[in-house]
Symmetry: C2
Subunit: 327 residues, 2 copies
Amino acid sequence: MTQLTRRHLLGGAAAAAATVLTPFSITKSHAAAPPIGKQAPSFYRTKLGDFEVTVVNDGARVAPIPNGFVRNVSQDQVIATAEAAFMPKGQLVAPFNPVVVNTGSKLVLLDTGFGPGVGPTVGLLQGTMKAAGIDPKAIDIVVCSHMHGDHILGIKNADGSLAFPNAEIKVPALDWAFWMNDDNAAKAQDGFTKGQMGFNRKIFGDLKDKVTRYEWGKEVAPGITAIDAKGHTPGHSALVIQSGSSRVLFQGDVTNVPDLFLRNPDWQVMFDHNPDEAVATRKRIHDMAATEKLLVSGFHFPFPSLGYSEKSGNGYRLVPVAWNPTI
Amino acid sequence: MTQLTRRHLLGGAAAAAATVLTPFSITKSHAAAPPIGKQAPSFYRTKLGDFEVTVVNDGARVAPIPNGFVRNVSQDQVIATAEAAFMPKGQLVAPFNPVVVNTGSKLVLLDTGFGPGVGPTVGLLQGTMKAAGIDPKAIDIVVCSHMHGDHILGIKNADGSLAFPNAEIKVPALDWAFWMNDDNAAKAQDGFTKGQMGFNRKIFGDLKDKVTRYEWGKEVAPGITAIDAKGHTPGHSALVIQSGSSRVLFQGDVTNVPDLFLRNPDWQVMFDHNPDEAVATRKRIHDMAATEKLLVSGFHFPFPSLGYSEKSGNGYRLVPVAWNPTI
């Protein structure tokens, strides 16, 4: 603060008191309204044929861009690209968007967010679901697109109990084979992979006989089919949700934050297991999405996380759906 | 429906009952979850320096594009442009986004939406404000950007009483001079202008001595300055909201739906009073917004109606802000 003004000197309650004392305010019968400081519950609901789809946000991180966030691009270029996309200077806005699908017969949760204790601006899923009128006990099936912490940690409450106690839990068979292999866990070199190995043991260590492992090309729930989206993890899956002729593609982490990786599909995020495969998958799936004008939901797209992929330059641009205030 | 499948035959309750009878479901203790059918409350809150800004959506219309909606462009081109922007074929999605600013000393409402009785998907402001924790009785000042129905009708309840009973009401002086002039009302030729004349008489007829008429270049509330944005109406105003070094431009109807009129700033919406002037204003204000990377709120931008104008082609592209789930 280089300049002190009357405004700076009269902060908070003092400013409010001063306002009451000004002649202009003598006729007012009510006090200055306090700031509310609370965001809207971040859910968004839309019909998809006979299905009801509700995006239930788990929060977002606004944080300095980690060094090496994009493996094959200079940090300066990453920072400049984020800033050109109107992110706060030097920072990345990374949201987390699970989705609930009510197929009429099954209530299905796609990915679970961070769960409790990771940070103040994430792990909000339970509160968002409550605001959206969705009872965690009513969830029939939890489908994880892949086995990274932000997609699986929400399976358990802080006390280790199941957050969705009546749900069958489904994970990609190839991810299970990779992440639950103890040799792989022992071999893990980098901090990120080691961390994910720990998260998987924490969540799934005592659930080994209770988790269903799913394969590509098959339904994981009525109207929801898993498709090959490997690269980000060995078994990373996208989920096609279809009712009648209406479809939405839950693309998981096929692209991370779209302002970086959809605009520049060759960029490789530091979390990719097989970066080249991840790039090929991204191009294959978003070429299809753009050509078919397919509605896409992305776990790291800005809430409400629904939009259309449009070819632009050497990559794609996300065109968000127009928010409909009624359903 | 050309094909009848088991899914088609077993709609609704019948399908749910059938599910209960399948072997897979015998272990289930809970019924299929019913669809909820209710959208999230459409408000969005952000800090602006010491101010708190809350977008409080009044609803949206999704309707066939009226003939002649754009005066100087063929209907085919308008329909094609809307469809390319992923609107439902032949239709336009037109949202309505008033804004509440808490300056710390004053609670200010910018534009009021349609009020009661106009249609089922609009006039939602009162419900949105309630969800956002804002008491209509606490509003100190209502500022109208201009005197069209969707910006003024919300001033009154269905019974004719004031919806914001403790608020000073402020309208542009030049709009007041135009719309409240009885000669102008008598001369009005087209249905749209006649309609607006009626709305203004309904709302302001018994408030003539109680409405404050504001001028450009002056504050309408602490930190909120009206600027010349004429063309759409004679007194159409934009409002610059500033706290410390943080600013947001409430652009009112400088551009209508951005996918049409921001991308194509020469297009003239049928509601413009002086179309050439409206085009010049749009270019002047969005050139400034793009150059200064100014955060802009547009009454007809998709909710949450906040974004950045970016030069693109012969016009501008709206880059929506990334929704922040916490504040």
